[in-house]
């Protein structure tokens, strides 16, 4: 019996000896199949594709791109890796995505890459090197990417495209400007600490500075609470707005995250995450007269549609011992809160990304435990239509 066992073990050893990975051959996007999903709510007017960026977990190199393909109603997973097998995956921590013309620009934070792919077939067009890129905005000529690079070091690229470090003393972040045609970096401008969201309105870029890293650094351990305004034409900072105190507010506004520019009333909306202590998260806006107002507290996830900002949040956001949280949703319609009765929220662990197709159809992602794949849910008329498994931390959407 023992001999039999030893033989078995030997067999197992021989069998397994050094598994070689066969790199999969490239797959055409049109060949991919996934899960069939119900898109009848869109009628005949739907988009061609919706791209979903799964952030992945830092250090695990598992950012991935999912696509809802409307032509044959397929939900496709891990498309970038399948179509571009030589690239080594999308990278580590996908942080933002935007459809710009017929291109999809994907910000891959911990890979230091802004990935440009074709919206048509997901083939790689360019991989642009930007240190720790975060969020993206664009105009007709340029794409603007906020970067925490400054938080780590101050430096520049030399002629051979090597990063030359000049200083490492707790410097500020940057906004990089990339030429849409040549895909080359055309300069950068210094903003506040760890810039996050960026929005463009009337030739001005509004950049939300978080200070997420400087809050961990001696001696101040302080979050940022400013919005940098950049004049796009001259690409220089024209103004820095301190938003720490709002009209009639009692809490300090720190650790800024998203920026939404509302082109109709020209309001600049922004969200703040707060300091994880007494100062909670919230949605705020800068009025045309320059005054800053509070829209609502407890905003974890938000998205803009037309002149409305949809929000999801919970008062238990800083309750570290709560095993489940009581999420609620509402929209801010410019001057008041409109509650949204989403019964499916109670089944969600962490609402993580929100995408509004219009005021009737939306997509909401659940990050689950942030470690295993999350889900994407389609919602129409306030009801859940379907839920599919996405990648790890599905968090950002773009419509083509």
């Amino acid at each position: 019996m023992k001999k039999a066992f030893l033989l078995l073990l030997c067999g197992a050893l021989a069998f397994s000896a050094c598994d070689k990975n066969n790199p999969e051959g490239g797959v055409k996007e049109s060949d991919l199949t996934g899960e069939t999903v119900d898109l009848s709510e869109f009628g005949y007017t739907g988009p061609r594709k919706i791209f979903i960026l799964n952030e992945g977990q830092k250090g695990a190199n598992n950012a991935s791109l999912d696509v809802i393909r409307f032509s044959d109603k397929q939900y496709l997973s891990g498309v970038f890796k399948k179509v571009n097998p030589g690239a080594g995956g999308l990278g580590d921590v996908g942080n933002d995505i935007a459809v710009i013309g017929d291109e999809v620009w994907i910000v891959v934070n911990n890979s230091g890459i802004v990935e440009v792919i074709s919206a048509e077939d997901e083939k790689e067009i360019a991989a642009i090197k930007v240190p720790t890129p975060r969020r993206i905005a664009y105009d007709d000529d340029y794409v603007y990417v906020t970067s925490w690079s400054g938080a780590f070091v101050d430096g520049h690229y030399d002629e051979s495209n090597h990063y030359v470090v000049t200083d490492s003393a707790n410097p500020k972040g940057q906004v990089y400007r990339i030429d849409r045609k040549t895909k080359k970096v055309k300069g950068s401008v210094e903003v506040g600490y760890q810039p996050e969201g960026i929005g463009l309105l009337d030739g001005k870029l509004y950049v939300a500075n978080s200070g997420g890293i400087s809050s961990q650094i001696a001696p101040d351990y302080a979050y940022d609470h400013t919005i940098s305004v950049i004049d796009a034409a001259s690409f220089t900072v024209s103004e820095t707005i301190d938003v720490v105190d709002v009209e009639g507010g009692t809490r300090r506004v720190v650790n800024l995250k998203d920026v939404y520019v509302e082109p109709f009333s020209k309001k600049i909306y922004f969200t703040a995450l707060g300091d994880y202590g007494g100062n909670h998260s919230g949605l705020y806006y800068i009025q045309n007269d320059g005054k800053i107002y509070l829209a609502s507290h407890y905003v974890s996830v938000s998205a803009r549609y037309f002149n409305e900002i949809y929000c999801i949040g919970t008062e238990q956001e800083f309750d570290w011992s709560a095993t489940s949280k009581d999420w609620s949703a509402w929209s801010w319609s410019g001057n008041h809160k409109v509650p949204l009765f989403y019964s499916f929220l109670k089944d969600m662990a962490v609402p993580y990304g929100l995408c509004l197709y219009n005021d009737r159809i939306l997509f909401l992602s659940d990050a689950g435990d942030y470690f295993n794949p999350g889900t994407v849910t389609m919602i129409a008329n306030g009801e859940k239509v379907w839920t599919v498994t996405a990648g790890v931390c599905p968090g950002h959407f773009a419509i083509w």
């Binding site: 030589g86 580590d92 240190p131 780590f152 990063y163 490492s168 956001e317 570290w320 794949p373």
Partner: protein, 661 residues
């Protein structure tokens, strides 16, 4: 004395027949009586030859044991922690001469830092260690790894060893050890070891081959030990100092060209002083007193000036701990003993991390144990109590706060052993242990949750052991089924924000497994052959949240099947070793899907050793010897990963020359 003849790298516990008795720490000279016999023998034990020429890291030795998974991040400087029967490394106590090596900050001991140099044995207890005069912490740990330093035995009153070792990955590793009998019954041992390794090795990355960078290490270990022996007792004082400076190569991820994977570096300075005193006061009463002071300093820096992608952290930590343990044993009848062990420990952690709360912990552990040892039947039972009192400074309160500071737990255990025939032995145990939340779990500024409860582990298992000799043949086999349940498992859970996580007691895992070990030995004349096969089946299922998509999946990094095969051949002064290890498919996440599957791997190591005995030196009776050895790791150059994103080295080798006198 067969002094010059050394085993391979490891001498497997060849002589470990069922009648053999455990060499207890208690007075090596005294004859071990029936009552010293442990109820459960170690699941695995490796006797290390004091003269073995190629020392390994303790992690390499443990890697071969059944039920053990070493988590290895690769290279000489990479972190190596050990899981036993799918219990997290926090449940595995590592003991050096009976005193725990612990780390209140993260509850993990990096076994890569301990070399087998100077050790006499490495033992693993999957179940309960049931010796005499144990510390309360030995009763209170889930599984245990025991390292025992070798007793210097020199007929000439002094002796030593000089070794030079070097190899691929830029490894240079000289060491020296010197023993001297100062007085009758008093011996001084001093030793020092230096290690440098460049940690550079090639690994495949898609279509290209990259070189692992920033994985170099320099370390220096210096030790001094005083060993005293007197009537009815013995004592030892051990001063240990270890300093290292190393790089962390970081996970292999997609990175823009020109950005390194990592520039992180860490410097450590560990010092401890530990002492123990065992005394048999009379036929019925014995005590063991153990004391320890440890001071561990860590400087961690991300070197953001070299890595534009890194967070600019430059952090310093200092952990200190003071420990005292008194174990008392009363022999009620010759076959019945009762023990009372009481331990007190005080831990502090200081750091310049933002919003750091400088926790201080006082831990009391007590255990009341009893043992019955008869010829064919042995039994042991104990109840241990763990109480921990934390004090920490909350950032907003500004002073010392005591919220949620008291944690305690009762830990019972029963072990039985029955030997119906001389060649067959059956045993079983069941126990519950708790591990305290670490300082990182509780107080890490962007994650901690100070209201955590201790994590609990229920362990049940049994062994069927068979051992027999036929002429030149010796055969041993062991089959050990087991069941473990870990609940209130401490898991990192995200909160409403991606930047702020929290730790919660939400995990639940059920682990069912069986270990099989079979060993056959043959010796005749100058030949000695030994073949050992091990196989382990582990089904470790996540049962945290019913209805979740990962419910019932295999927990990360635990292979369903694993095993190894080793052959040792000795002939005259030559020794040859062959080791093949196999690990089946694993997943890096609880989602057991293709994206997170880690390929199975198997690697083979071979070694060859030759001992040359030299003529005796003047005025000495023991002849000196020279030992030459070479070792080739990963002979078939297999590219594999133990931890996702951390490629392991391909084929590599070491050679060593040792002079012993």
């Amino acid at each position: 004395m067969r002094r010059g003849i050394t085993a391979l790298i490891i001498l497997f516990s060849v002589s470990w027949s069922l009648r053999a008795q455990e060499a207890d720490t208690l007075s090596a000279a005294s004859v071990v009586s029936e009552r010293e016999r442990p109820v459960l023998r170690p699941s695995e034990e490796v006797r290390l030859d004091a003269q073995a020429a190629v020392p390994q890291q303790v992690a390499d030795v443990l890697n071969r044991f059944t039920g053990v998974q070493v988590k290895d991040y690769g290279g000489a400087g990479g972190l190596k922690t050990v899981n036993v029967r799918s219990l997290g490394s926090e449940h595995v106590g590592v003991f050096l001469d009976g005193i725990q090596i612990d780390n209140a900050q993260n509850m993990q001991v990096d076994l890569g830092r301990f070399s087998t140099d100077g050790l006499q044995s490495v033992s693993l207890y999957n179940g309960q260690k049931t010796g005499r005069l144990q510390t309360a912490k030995e009763y209170a740990s889930g599984a245990a790894v025991h390292l025992r330093t070798a007793q210097p035995v020199h007929p000439d009153g002094s002796g030593g060893r000089v070794r030079l070792r070097g190899g691929t990955l830029g490894t240079v590793n000289p060491s020296v050890q010197w023993d001297k009998d100062l007085l009758p019954g008093l011996t001084l041992r001093t030793s020092a070891e230096f290690l440098y390794s460049s940690g550079r090795y090639r690994f495949p990355y898609f279509d290209t081959t990259l070189v692992r960078e920033n994985g170099d290490i320099r370390s220096l270990r210096a030790e001094m030990m005083l060993l005293g022996r007197h009537k009815g007792g013995d004592w030892r004082l051990h001063i240990y100092s270890y300093g290292s400076e190393r790089g962390f190569p970081g996970p292999v991820i997609r990175r823009a060209l020109g950005f390194p994977f990592s520039a992180e570096r860490q410097a450590d300075q560990d010092i401890f002083v530990q002492g123990s005193w065992n005394q048999e006061w009379n036929r019925r009463y014995a005590t063991a007193l153990r004391l320890k002071y440890a001071n561990n300093y860590t400087h961690y820096c991300t070197h953001a000036e070299k890595d534009p992608m890194a967070f600019p952290y430059d952090l310093h930590y200092r952990q200190q701990s003071g420990y005292a343990s008194l174990a008392q044993s009363v022999t009620i009848m010759d076959w019945w003993t009762a023990d009372l062990s009481t331990d007190v420990q005080y831990n502090t952690l200081a750091s310049d991390v933002g919003q750091f709360v400088s926790p201080r912990r006082t831990t009391f552990t007590g255990a009341l144990a009893t043992r019955f040892v008869r010829e064919k039947f042995r039994a042991a039972a104990h109840i241990a109590y763990l109480g921990a009192w934390d004090v920490f400074r909350t950032p907003d309160a500004g002073g010392w706060s005591r919220q949620n500071a008291w944690r305690d737990a009762w830990m019972p255990s029963v072990s039985l052993s029955w030997q119906p025939f001389p060649f067959l032995e059956l045993d079983a145990f069941c126990k519950r242990t708790f591990r305290l939340p670490s300082f990182n779990d509780l107080y890490y500024s962007l994650m901690g949750n100070s209201s955590l409860k201790p994590e609990s582990a229920l362990q049940c298992g049994g062994d069927v052991r068979f051992a027999r000799e036929w002429g030149n043949w010796q055969v041993e086999a062991r089959v050990s089924p087991y069941y473990n349940r870990v609940n209130n498992k401490i898991v990192a859970i995200p909160t409403a924000s991606q930047f702020r996580w929290t730790m919660l007691n939400v995990g639940l895992a059920d682990i069912t497994g069986v270990e099989v070990k079979a060993e056959a030995g043959w010796s005749a004349g100058q030949w000695d052959l030994r073949l050992t096969g091990r196989y382990c089946f582990q089904q470790a299922l996540d049962h945290s949240t019913e209805g979740s998509r990962t419910y019932g999946n295999q927990i990360p990094y635990i292979p369903l099947h694993s095993g190894n095969l080793s052959l040792q051949v000795r002939w005259r002064q030559w020794a040859l070793g062959w080791d093949s290890a196999f690990t089946g498919e694993r997943w890096s996440r609880t989602a057991n899907i293709a994206d997170y599957r880690i390929d199975p791997w198997s690697i083979t190591d071979v070694s060859l050793q030759r001992t040359v005995t030299l003529p005796p030196l003047r005025r000495r009776t023991v002849p000196p010897s020279l030992v030459f050895s070479i070792r080739c790791n990963n002979l078939f150059n297999c590219h594999y990963q133990i931890v996702q994103g951390y490629p392991m080295p391909g084929i590599n080798g070491v050679a060593a020359a040792t002079f012993l006198w």
